[in-house]
Amino acid sequence: MALYSEKVMDHFRNPRNVGVIEDADGIGEVGNAKCGDIMKIYLKIENDIIVDVKFETFGCGSAIASSSMATELIKGKPVSEAMALTNKAVAEALDGLPAHKLHCSVLAEEAIKAALEDYYKKNGLTYDPTLFPNCANCGHCCKADQCGQ
């Protein structure tokens, strides 16, 4: 289907880093099943390096591809680099997403940030909360008033 780039289809068909990490150091879940997309990211962090990352996603093709790409982009990287990951970087690495699917890359960025925030909290580390969006109840993918139904 020509809706998506080949990169997107590759990551959708063969997603990298799918699964769970039982003893994860940080877990982040964003999105809302009512909206049609939920992403969950698990991080294993040693000496400030993301040594392992896994994801689970409920969502469309670009949601699965965005999670897969985002995990690839942060795996083996220092926490500070993961913190700097943007949705734009995820979308670009996928050779672009259709306009109405850009929210999927936003969710991927937020899922990783949520997992990092969880890591900071669990380890009692000080961090700047303003760097983290409040994505407990995302409103990216559908009209927020409908999500409450």
């Binding site: 068909r13 099943a33 049609g36 996603t57 093709g61 109405h100 993918c141």
Partner: protein
């Protein structure tokens, strides 16, 4: 193997339809409004096609207006009845919450112009009752429009009974029969239908051509002004090849409804039985009062688009919700209308069969859907929470 299971979106043209069109492209290509022989030949063909269509539908040929398809017919039917009502000071229209957007968006427009629109609730089985219609009709009601069969979940409404209610109360009754014509026996006269829309590409005819039927005494409002074609109600040189293809396709389809519907509904039921084996799945729409070709399921814990993409990889061409809504991120208004919660409505699949569908294809589709659903559940955090008891199943 590739399997086309999206016949509710559109169908492959039949040989009969293609061959009926060809002479009107390079042999009898005259303009039916021209006085010379080749024009008059085209005009005769147009008349014959009109009569053929009327005979298939059980109506007067003078009530047939050829349009560019189902959407145009729906728009013109509703706007015409609304204008007629307005002239009498009646500005109330009754419809259902799960109509096609060609109807719903037209009603939205009228609402902005001061009409009052009542959208009847659809029962969980995808049906409305004639009593609901009777109860909603008031002295101001100028139109009831209820689709014959739903495009997503295939449920067939009690049209004859709704028509009878409208006739008794003197209210115009329109039905969007785009999904039904050519697949179900329809008789406009016997079923108390005042106006009806159909579209050729849903019964193996060409795309971009359809019919609006309106009984005598219902003047149409033009959507397109210009020449005097179609009794002045729809300007523009007639698309003769398409009209000829449509008439031939309709005659062919109507001539074999009994055999094809028996054949296709047996495959439908086999497919429904197979997919019902998937845990936490549910058939959308009544199992009996549904189109022979329609199968529509929700699968808990997964999302529909990824299901479709992976089925495409396996050669199964399906759809989720209606083709028109892909590109929109909101779940199907039809599934919401029958009470499926948002999170379930996202995980829907429509497989729509044709007489070309085989038993082997049905077996293949059952296996393919089972595989893809279980794979997508294996990577879904929603499914994990359901299985671990952290959240409750909506579909038991």
């Amino acid at each position: 193997m590739t399997i086309y299971a999206d016949n509710a979106a559109t169908t492959k043209m039949s040989r009969t339809a293609i061959e009926a069109m060809l002479p009107y492209m390079d042999k009898i290509y005259g303009n039916p409004s021209s006085l010379h022989s080749v024009g008059q030949k085209a005009n005769e063909a147009l008349t014959a096609a009109r009569e053929q269509v009327a005979a298939c539908l059980g109506c007067d040929a003078r009530g047939i207006t050829f349009t560019s398809g189902g959407s145009e017919a729906d728009n013109q039917a509703i706007l015409s009845a609304a204008r007629l009502g307005q002239r009498k000071g009646k500005k109330h229209i009754i419809s259902t919450a799960f109509e096609h957007h060609a109807v719903l968006h037209t009603l939205n427009r009228l609402e902005k112009q001061g009409f009052e629109i009542t959208l009847l609730d659809v029962h969980e089985n995808g049906l409305i009752t004639p009593e609901q219609v009777a109860d909603a009709i008031c002295p101001d009601t100028c139109l009831v429009t209820v689709m014959y069969a739903n495009n997503e979940i295939g449920t067939i409404q009690p049209i004859r009974e709704i028509g009878a209610v409208c006739r008794e109360k003197g209210v115009i009754f329109h039905t969007d029969a785009v999904q039904a014509v050519g697949h179900l026996h329809i008789n406009i006269r016997e079923e108390n239908i005042d106006m009806l829309s159909l579209s050729a590409h849903k019964f193996h005819g060409p795309k971009g051509v359809g019919v609006l039927y309106a009984r005598k005494g219902i003047p149409l409002t033009n959507l397109i002004e210009g020449g005097a074609q179609e009794r002045g109600k729809r300007a523009g040189t007639e698309n003769i090849p398409a009209i000829m293809g449509m008439a031939a396709a309709l005659q062919e389809a109507c001539g074999k409804i009994d055999s094809t519907s028996a054949q296709i509904s047996a495959l439908r039921d086999k497919l429904i039985a197979g997919l019902s084996e998937i845990p936490h799945s549910v058939l959308n729409g009544d199992a009996v009062r549904r189109l022979p070709s329609n199968v529509n399921f929700c699968f808990e814990g997964i999302e529909g688009e990824s299901l479709l993409l992976l089925l495409d990889d396996k050669g199964v061409y399906a759809s989720s919700g209606s083709a028109c809504t892909s590109g929109s991120l909101d779940p199907s208004h039809v599934l919401l209308a029958i009470g499926r919660p948002h999170e379930i409505a996202h995980g829907s699949l429509r497989l729509s069969l044709s007489e070309e569908t085989t038993r082997e294809e049905v077996d293949y589709m059952i296996d393919a859907v089972k595989d893809v659903v279980s794979y997508l559940r294996s990577i879904s955090p929603v499914w994990r929470d359901l299985v671990n008891g952290k959240s409750n199943f909506v579909i038991q």
